[in-house]
Symmetry: C3
Subunit: 433 residues, 3 copies
């Protein structure tokens, strides 16, 4: 279906297929120098970025096992390949899937949609922050999924992500957004224990017919052991920093929103999902709250910070096809491409228009009297308009135009505004198999 | 056989198959803080590690050539992929194989067993130290193997390993154990010549029938040109350091045993192998001596240090199958899996229990009057008990419990004990094709 | 044809094949210490180098799209894999190809020959410098090729190369020769815009029959926006450095020829190609000029520097076969291997002898009165003799002997000679599919 063969043994107990995914972005930021200019990022890089470049294998063995081993070679320059997925799934019980390995476990609606199929270039900020803490790609995971005609549910134990760089290196340029655990160089000397978390997601489809799908879901997550860098009770032992970029990655922009390090005892996450499709129209929205419980024994702060975000997104398949729904992920996939590009035959693929409003707040106790309680990670609002051209089922062009409004104070005690307000144009060439 | 198709041309002159190997470890170290505590590694990392993550291709071309090109994406975090194997073999003469490229040439019994098939999570320390000097994975090699019903022999010229990091970087966390040649940053400016070595291995099977196999072998190796970092006769020009970890890798533990840098003129290695199988019981043992000849013109040391180690390992395939023997490697492979997991049909795979005692001594002239002669790399004893569950021929779960006793003096002139004595529990999910 | 299967769907709309390419070099430099010795590189590394180690996929989808996704794992040691090619081509218009992605677009004759098929270990210095600026492997490119029985033409827009390391890191050891844009660490903070360039190449074959081919071509290129590291009008904002190694890469030699940083407004490149084949004899030659326009507002220099180089190369297929010509690249490929190695059948493959003279001048205004105008990048002359043994169509051994004469002044104001004059022996094992 995706342009590569799937090899299947005569008894159908075994199958095999190559995996490839290229997402090449190019973007430009419209920014003007002001005078005076306190903005922290007033001349953001314009340029290209291999957002994803996967090479791998997937298949089925002995009837009841499926696997996926994939490497990713992302980045703007000479950046190195790394493991993206190493997933083993046991499929021996009908309607149930048991997963173990490094994967992108299904947490939140948008993160359960394949990156090949998402409506805009990047997922909403709040989803990246939430999954960056305890789910997201390359996450060490063990869990169970169950699904049927009208429901999907999963529960996972998760650890670190193999895509997280714990050493604060320059590879931050291509790391997935969200939280990067500040497991600093002490990891090198062997004194760093992995984080531990659990999450669950449950989704229902009260309406699910040929024209109409309505999807309602809830998500809860809990990081009960943040990554440990020093001794259990030493200062700087369980440090988290939540951060995010303005919903684009071309040009290698680093995170502007950033809470700085928080000594955390645990993190609780909860939120909900709503999605619907009516023929070629679709809409989805989600909202999440993040409650961080501080290690107050290691800090002069007395409050537990909270962060939140939400978004609403809607799309219209201009050429009349419908978005599909993937039962074993509990989420949308791309619209059908029933007329792949063939100018001679008058076929021009599938076209789709998308719009989204997204809000993310990484501030907490911004004006607390005890300045140790202040977390001034910043907040961002992003409006995005997008146009997607599915030339075939495995070739897609995307064009996004963003209105970014980013507000951030210089520091906990300095009220200078270092955020910015600008527009950005980005495109993607995508081919996958 | 391993769950992926092998594609063969109609005339059988060509064949092709994908290669994948995932070894995902998770481990925990039982350690208590003491007071006072001089231990160098008193809080070893607990966590996961992708011990191996291979993606590659293997095949046959023009009847007489076979090849293997494989990359590895190991590690705990955002660590980069690297070349693992790039091997070309000429098979045109029956009973003979001519190899060239980067490979893991068959040196020592345990290192000739595929990492998919070894009885415990890691090979014995002495084998890692010995092969880390002149063989081991990713080693630039050119050589010849010959084998028949009752014998195996090989001889190779070897150079550097493409898996060795010569720059003392943080990638030590995932490098293969054994010696890491201290080719420091001078390599960057182009002043570093490769090491050169040769080895031979000869094995015989005096008994070799359906029930019983007895294997006897000898191994000799000689590094005649250690890696050169500066001018031939400059201080620090041919520097070696032997090191090893306590027979586990989860948690990214660095080497504790470490001789420090030795200015070496040459290194001689010799030892022997004994292995036997009687139906579902098997046993193997090896011992090696390492004699380093110093560059005495570049040092105040007057003695040539020697190091040694040995181990004994035994296993029992609880479900009655037998370990197999691979003629063209001269070593065991995994037991047969004739009843792959299928709970409905009452099939539960193959189960195996393994035990090992391993000893490694990287001390030499520990109490010499001339302290320049003292090499206090430390010594370790490790008892390991293991349980292996082969769910199918390509999916294996492993569980190891270790009793580690590690003794090391703080330095050549400081007799403080910095070693430790602890227990460790580790597991592995393995899937391969 | 190359020893791996190509899988084609029943309707021929889809096809797929794995891609592998191993080039393993080993080399030795004959150098003597002199006294006094001012040479900058008097003890060049002897050793091995994985010049190329590709793993990837190529194929066709929906009749009119072809793709290639390939990673490279080159280097001497623990160096990391990176993206090599991610190319999407639309083939829907006969005689035309539309390319987008990261690729090696066809610029200059030698660079349009596959690295599997080039006559000597490395391409001529001038080609590496020219393509290193605006073409070469891993280059972000969008363009069009057209070709027929007697012509080839292309035009491309290009950006950065994903194989360029912008951070001045140690990976320079394995980077492709030519220019490395000095996009320094400021890139990390997001203040670096990509370079932008365009080029065109047009080739004609006035004679093109079974025995004789004559090829004439012209190449022009223009970098209208060098990479921007700081603000547009800040010092050090558009910095280029042209550099090259002495036409070998084994041993990880860094560039000796190097212009140092030049603040550039634009770069113009023009030159010509001449190639011919008469049965088993072939010859080719090219010459290029590089004109750099300075940012004189940011420098005390008043002149615009120019650089140039050329080479002449000839070969003889000793066993009588012919080199082939690839119409859609406008360049030679390897000679046919109609008798693959099979000693039993008296078949010994194809043998070829090659010789080349190559000249490269990276000096400009060497003795200008205004020393700011002096660019003393050095000049090199290299004579190379080569012998190629094509054992099969996918296995090749190469042996090159070089006479290298390299002249370089210590600095713009110091006339000490730091170049060298030496001989070098290198070999390559190559297997590809």
């Amino acid at each position: 279906p995706n342009g590569v063969p799937t090899f299947t043994s005569a008894d159908k107990a075994f199958s095999f297929q190559p995996v490839g995914r290229i997402h090449l972005d190019y973007g430009y930021n419209f920014q003007d120098a002001k005078n005076p200019d306190t903005r922290a990022n007033k001349d953001i890089t314009d340029g290209f970025n291999f957002r994803r470049a996967y090479i791998g294998f997937a298949g089925k063995a002995f009837n009841d096992f499926t696997y996926n081993v994939t490497a990713d070679f992302p980045g703007r320059f000479n950046q190195s390949g790394r493991l993206q997925t190493a997933q083993l799934t046991y499929t021996g019980y009908k309607g149930w899937l048991i997963d173990v390995g490094a994967m992108q476990p299904a947490f939140t609606f948008e993160d359960s949609i394949s990156s090949n199929d998402i409506g805009l270039l990047e997922r909403p900020g709040i989803n990246n922050v939430v999954t960056g803490l305890i789910a997201s790609e390359g996450r060490l995971s063990a869990g169970v999924r169950t699904f049927g005609d009208n429901y999907f549910a999963d529960v996972y134990l998760t650890g670190n992500s193999v895509n997280t760089s714990p050493f604060g290196s320059t590879t931050v340029l291509t790391s997935t957004g969200g939280a990067t655990a500040s497991v600093t160089s002490s990891a090198v000397t062997g004194v760093a224990d992995d984080q531990k978390a659990a999450f669950a997601r449950a989704a229902f489809r009260p309406i699910n017919d040929e024209h109409t799908i309505v999807h309602i879901a809830g998500d809860v997550g809990y990081m009960y052991a943040p990554p440990q860098t020093n001794g259990v009770n030493a200062a700087g032992s369980h440090v988290l920093a939540l951060s995010e970029r303005p919903e684009n990655r071309y040009g290698g922009l680093g995170s502007i929103l950033n809470t700085g390090n928080i000594n955390a005892d645990s993190v609780a996450i909860y939120g909900g999902e709503l999605a619907a499709r009516y023929d070629s129209f679709w809409a989805q929205g989600e909202g999440y709250q993040i409650d961080v419980k501080r290690r107050k024994d290691l800090s002069t702060a007395t409050n537990d910070p909270s962060f939140f975000g939400y978004y609403a997104e809607a799309g219209w398949v201009l050429t009349g096809q419908k978005r599909n729904y993937v039962a074993n992920q509990g989420a949308f996939s791309a619209p059908t491409v029933d007329k792949p590009l063939n100018p001679g035959a008058g076929q021009w693929g599938t076209w789709e228009a998308v719009a989204r409003y997204s809000f993310l707040n990484l501030n907490s106790d911004t004006w607390a009297t005890n300045t140790a309680n202040r977390v001034r990670g910043g907040q961002q609002e992003v409006w995005t308009l997008g146009l997607n051209w599915y030339m075939t089922s495995n070739v897609r062009f995307m064009l996004d135009y963003q209105f970014i409004d980013l507000k951030k104070y210089s520091s906990a005690t300095n009220n200078t505004q270092v955020g910015d307000n600008w527009q950005s144009l980005g495109g993607r060439v995508q081919f996958t198999f």
